[in-house]
């Protein structure tokens, strides 16, 4: 593995000032499960690695306005089992526990999970053409083995799937990221953070090179909402999603008052199916409504040679997740 200089940031100011001036050359490390994997593959090549683990960002706390603020260093395990999460955001807990393995979740941080890179095999292979890793080099996935690749949000420059489960739940729940930079703090809606590949798949998110994610704050829970995270994959555990659906449905007298739907495994970023959500509002909480929503959610799908099977798979995941979520709704 290529070598790098290593330092630990003692506080947030130090973390953002030590990165400054090294844009693109320095990299933070939290759990290391994405970074060290990709440094070993020579895909990420930091000259300097800055350890964040001494920063006081391990709290999960309820704010006065009812939202839940999660420190960037809270591990995926601790977040999944936190009483405030299991009680008020079971969708997030389910999604986290559906990801990776016990060992990896113990290491993985909330901030690192947001920043994890695609598992596209051509991105991970420095001998392949990949616009994300080497801008302008082409995309070997377009005509290659693209069974794991995305249907939604793709471009002719990149069809890589965003691999996170946690981010899909956060997209459905609604959240805000707090970013700290040399010029102070700013906030950004979770749904605006990850970018579509378009003609610059190397630009994956809105974080500036000298910025740090300090917190993710979840919106207040939807009153009476039931939820379900369904992940379909090649084996029962320890595998990335082929298709996943995070559904939250609030039903009153058999009618859907509010619905949220986000998709994983099929899109280039954590994917909120806004039009499907709108179509569900006011409809009877029945399978026909869910099937219609699934059609709408996938109407823009662009399948490739090896991933067309994901269209019916995602459709089923959506219908099933909506059914389970509405059955779990408090007022159905």
């Amino acid at each position: 593995m290529r070598n790098f200089a290593f330092s630990s940031a003692e506080n947030v100011d130090q973390a953002v000032s030590s990165e400054r001036g090294n844009a693109g050359e320095a990299s933070y490390i939290a759990g290391g499960t994405t970074l060290i994997d990709l440094v070993k593959l020579d895909v990420m090549r930091p000259v300097q690695v800055i350890d964040l683990n001494r920063l006081p960002l391990r709290e999960v706390e309820r704010l006065d306005d009812g939202r839940l603020r999660i420190g960037a260093l809270v591990s995926n395990t601790d977040l999944a089992h936190h009483p405030l999460v299991t009680q008020h955001y079971p969708l997030l807990s389910q999604a986290l526990l559906a990801g990776a393995s016990t060992q990896l979740r113990n290491m993985a941080s909330t901030g690192g999970n947001v920043m994890q890179r695609t598992r596209c095999p051509y991105f991970r292979d420095v001998a392949a053409a990949c616009n994300k890793r080497a801008p302008g080099s082409g995309c070997d996935a377009l005509e290659g083995v693209n069974r794991m690749h995305a249907l939604l949000g793709t471009s002719e420059h990149c069809i890589a799937t965003h691999p996170s489960d946690m981010c899909v739940a956060m997209t459905a729940l609604g959240a805000t990221l707090t970013l700290e930079g040399p010029n102070g703090t700013r906030e950004i809606a979770f749904g605006d953070f990850h970018r579509l590949p378009m003609d610059r798949p190397d630009l994956e998110h809105e974080l500036e090179p000298d910025e740090l994610i300090t917190h993710v704050t979840l919106d207040t829970p939807v009153v009476g909402g039931g939820s379900h995270y369904l992940k379909l994959r090649d084996r029962a555990s320890y595998e990335f999603a082929l298709a996943s659906a995070a559904a939250m449905v609030a039903v009153e007298d058999g009618v859907i008052r509010e619905a949220r739907l986000a998709l994983g495994g099929v899109a280039t970023k954590p994917w909120r199916a806004v039009e499907a959500e709108q179509a569900l509002a006011g409809k009877p909480a029945r399978t026909e409504s869910f099937e219609k929503a699934a059609e709408i959610a996938l109407s823009d799908a662009v399948p490739r040679e090896h991933n067309a099977f994901k269209v019916p798979l995602a459709r089923q995941a959506i219908v099933r997740a909506l059914e389970k979520a509405s059955a779990a709704s408090k007022h159905h």
């Binding site: 593995m1 070598n3 790098f4 290593f6 060290i36 393995s101 016990t102 060992q103 990896l104």
Partner: protein, 180 residues
């Protein structure tokens, strides 16, 4: 990847080796390593603790599982410099003077391995999950919690049986009069 490679790459990058104190199985070890050395290689190549295995080197198999402050982690993805101030436990640290750890004994009795390559990692995950109240006790919960340990020989059935047998059997205290 071996030690020679590390020092050579370290020189090339001009990144100095740093002094790191690792606490492994209750013993302190002083090492001089470059920042890119992962815990797995520090354990195997520097400390001679070869019980911890390298399978994939990318977090995909669990052969390298050790405990960091009691939690199971993949040592192939953990920088050794980040382990200072934390307690590392490897498979070599499971048994004590009083004998094998109940999980080791149960693996033996249930024939929970064939080639044995995945076994140290399996046992480290097993010992951690038995101590973790957040993980359920039924077979499905144990299987799920153990999914980060791949066994190419397919000894899963016996591994599960061994873990459930070891459950509730506390580790015997080391024999009196001996130091550990």
């Amino acid at each position: 990847m071996n030690m020679k490679e590390y020092s050579r790459q370290g020189d090339e990058a001009g990144s100095a080796e740093t002094a790191v104190t690792l606490s492994v199985n209750g013993e302190m070890h002083q090492l001089r390593i470059s920042p890119n050395v992962v815990l797995l290689d520090a354990l195997r190549d520097r400390l001679g603790l070869t019980g911890t295995k390298k399978g994939c080197d990318h977090g995909q198999c669990g052969a390298c599982t050790v405990h960091l402050d009691g939690q199971a982690i993949n040592s192939c993805l953990k920088l050794a410099v980040m382990c200072e101030g934390h307690e590392v436990t490897t498979v070599e640290g499971l048994a004590n003077d009083a004998g094998l750890h109940p999980v080791q004994q149960a693996f033996l009795e249930h024939d929970a391995y064939q080639c044995g390559f995945c076994t140290p990692g399996q046992m480290m995950s097993a010992t951690a999950l038995l101590e973790d109240e957040r993980i359920g006790t039924d077979d499905a919960a144990v299987r799920e919690a153990m999914s980060g340990n791949i066994c190419r020989c397919g000894a899963y059935k016996n591994i599960l049986a061994a873990i459930q047998t070891a459950r509730g059997q506390g580790q015997a205290a080391p024999t009196a009069g001996k130091t550990s």
